[in-house]
Symmetry: C2
Subunit: 453 residues, 2 copies
């Protein structure tokens, strides 16, 4: 199939990626006099900020996902194409999806980010990250399998390793995961086991900087650390992870190093740009930063290619205060909408002022009745922050039809202290819980790869 | 770990399997003066009658599952053990779980059934069945990927094969799957695609007998067939499947044979007993029927082993009317509860009358506002049957805490004609939609394996 294009047909916009950046661009173009093709590998948009709730058994994947075709079914100018873009031809103005060439007049690249292990890709096997539905289900399987294995284990040392959960990275995802696992151990699972006391679980949250939640105001970082401690989470700041092997994390704290035996190590420490950044660099000469993000112009286009835009986690937009905007949903959403407006204005012969991100603040959930909210002019913690977090998340889910269901699921979980979605599923689960390989001797660790390099 | 046992400790009951049979036995023993160990490979009970709704994107796996530990958390005499039983030692009165021997005084075996391809195990690859959460997610992936592939396909013949869904077996599962896929094609997905008209999908329901839903009264079978036709399902009775290969089903109808090109072939035709039936036969001399089910005594025990009971789909209980009881949830549930009562009465020196199944009727959902209900003394079809189906399923889900959530999900789906859980997930989905292998020539088929052998 070749989408040929002539001057009589409407302006063709191709969007790669159906995350917040790509989807909001498509939605903003629904009524425009353009044809839109949205290409994604997956058939659904994922509300990534809630992925940690899938990983910890509170919600199901479908609760935080919306079929892309359903979201865009009323946008009659928009086609959804399920597939993976393998290459971009900026000269011929087309993208390759398998054997098919899709022609574009304007291209929006919004393929996001993936985990980064700072060059230690072998850590991934032992410390999975949280970016996709499959990641969340794998994490869920590990967490709940660890409690099952501890219940069976008679050796106290091994049992302790099964009941030790290490979360690497003290950003919002790490904080939310640590808080949720602490609640699982102390509340949800408390009555479920006969041989172990789940509240003996150790939950360690490791952060390389001097405080958790670095994007927040210092007093909120401190409030979050206190709340987490009250839930039983051990927060360790100024802590660099220097090695991860099967079941052992090596830490550097000041001059000392320390080894922690843990069967469940979760990665929330860093991301890098998806592979499309490299493709863009090769095909357009675009510049990328160290994390692989494409450095964009003030209007989010690529230098020398005014009809190619990059939005969301893949973009490095540093025109506002010299620092790149963070890889969060509101940035991606505003960027996608800005580009959609730019395209329409250009067709009318107008130009827009440069993109300007309006930061409405940051939120992080810690646990029941506890969150931190930093809106700049106002800072909330505890119950009111928690309520605010709920309202905001429900509000943004509205657009994805799942509002009512998630709200009821949360209310149910809240009042029953339950998390019903704690299934151990997937091919890897069909046998039994993970088997201890018996090895507990690890070679000395010399690698000094800082956590927040 | 060896659970040794002496005469001073309470009576040890070991239950293998946490389906309806095993779980209801465990629940009925919660207050008894016995120790119970429930062993299952999975950490959750699955409400199998609603699995077809997961396969067709209406519900999430967690909606129809309950963690076994949560269901039994208040039964303080009950331990849940996650693991697979590899062997039974009826002399030494213990079961083997990996390296561990679990001692029992009374054993209840409730490991259920799996798909049967009547000796043609190679059909499984092309025509997956529906017994586990993973089965349902794989089926969901196939169904929604087929529409995606059709949207991309330009060759009309291949597109037709992508839009042809063949369901083998006209029992309740087959009827429910066919009805749900028809509603997907005609309602849910109608506005979602740009190149295909999803309502052109062909949905074929194949049944070897002379009518669908053989356990129901003939007039209800006929009503169901009419309702399905109105939804656009082509019902073919007296139709034997003689071969299934990649993308082609061969049928025998009377003297003629026919080939149907279909990329989505779903198996709802038959089951056989799980492997534990064979283990029991070898270790206790128990007799099995052709489907591998263990033939049980009037009290559900095995001949010569009064302390080993078999319940649910694994049991062949033929003492009521000469025919084995069907493999449905109410039979398993009543059998599990009967055995629990028997154990308690025996400890008091009493014996119970033989097991007697009280058949409260059969139900099958066809589509929105349409179902069939056969209670014997009353037969319902259409809207009232549908309402009855809803009430009964909600009622039975009550015990699993998911009532409210499923009810709201259903109400939501009903009013919006939506099915939000239509995610294509799993390892196999991470690339793209299935690729046509280009081969459409099949060798002539000579195998005459009847569908309902």
């Amino acid at each position: 199939m070749v989408d040929s294009h002539n001057n009589n047909s409407p302006h063709q916009v191709v969007i790669i990626g159906g995350g917040f950046g790509g989807l909001y661009a498509a939605k903003a173009l629904a009524k425009a006099d353009v044809n839109v093709t949205l290409i994604d590998k997956r058939n659904f948009h994922l509300f990534q900020p809630l992925l940690y709730q899938v990983a910890t058994g509170a919600l199901s994947p479908a609760d935080i996902s919306s079929p892309l075709r359903a979201v865009l079914s009323k946008s009659k100018n928009t086609k959804v194409l399920l597939g993976e873009v393998s290459d971009i031809d900026s000269q011929g103005q087309k993208v390759m999806v398998g054997e098919d060439a899709i022609a574009y007049d304007t291209l929006i690249v919004a393929t996001g980010a993936k985990h980064s292990y700072f060059g230690k890709d072998n850590w991934e096997e032992f410390a999975p990250g949280l970016k996709t539905v499959e990641d969340a289900l794998a994490m869920r399987r590990r967490i709940f399998s660890a409690f099952e294995a501890a219940e069976k284990e008679t050796d106290p040392e091994k049992r302790r390793a099964w009941l030790t959960f290490v979360i690497v990275g003290g950003g919002p995802t790490g904080v939310e995961l640590a808080g949720a696992i602490a609640e699982l151990a102390n509340q949800t699972l408390k009555e479920d086991f006969r041989n172990i006391d789940t509240s003996e679980a150790r939950i360690l949250l490791l952060e390389g900087m001097d405080r958790i939640l670095p994007p927040f105001a210092p007093e909120l970082s401190q409030a979050a650390a206190i709340s987490l401690s009250q839930l039983g989470v051990v927060v360790q700041t100024n802590t660099l992870v220097t090695n991860i092997e099967n079941e052992v994390v090596t830490l550097k704290q000041g001059e000392g190093t320390r080894e922690i035996a843990s069967k469940t190590i979760l990665w929330a420490a860093g991301v890098k740009a998806s592979a499309m950044g490299k493709v863009l660099a090769e095909r357009t000469g675009a510049e990328c930063d160290r994390a692989g993000r494409v450095i964009v112009e003030p209007d989010l286009s690529i230098k020398g290619h005014s009809n190619i835009f990059v939005v969301g986690d893949l973009a490095n937009f540093s025109h506002q205060n010299g620092k790149p905007l963070p890889g969060v949903a509101p940035v991606a959403k505003q960027e996608g909408e800005y580009v959609a407006t730019t395209i329409q204005q250009r067709l009318k012969g107008n130009t827009l002022p440069p993109f300007n991100y309006i930061d409405r603040g940051s939120l992080a959930m810690i646990g029941q009745n506890s969150a931190v909210v930093d809106l700049g002019f106002i800072k909330l913690k505890g119950f009111f922050a928690w309520l605010f977090w709920l309202v905001i998340h429900i509000y943004f889910l509205i657009e994805f039809d799942n509002k009512l269901l998630v709200m009821i699921q949360w209310a149910w979980n809240y009042f029953t202290r339950n998390r019903g979605a704690r299934l151990i599923t997937g091919e890897a689960s069909l046998g039994s819980v993970p088997i201890d390989n018996g090895s507990s001797n690890y070679p000395p660790v010399n690698i000094k790869q800082p956590l927040n390099a």
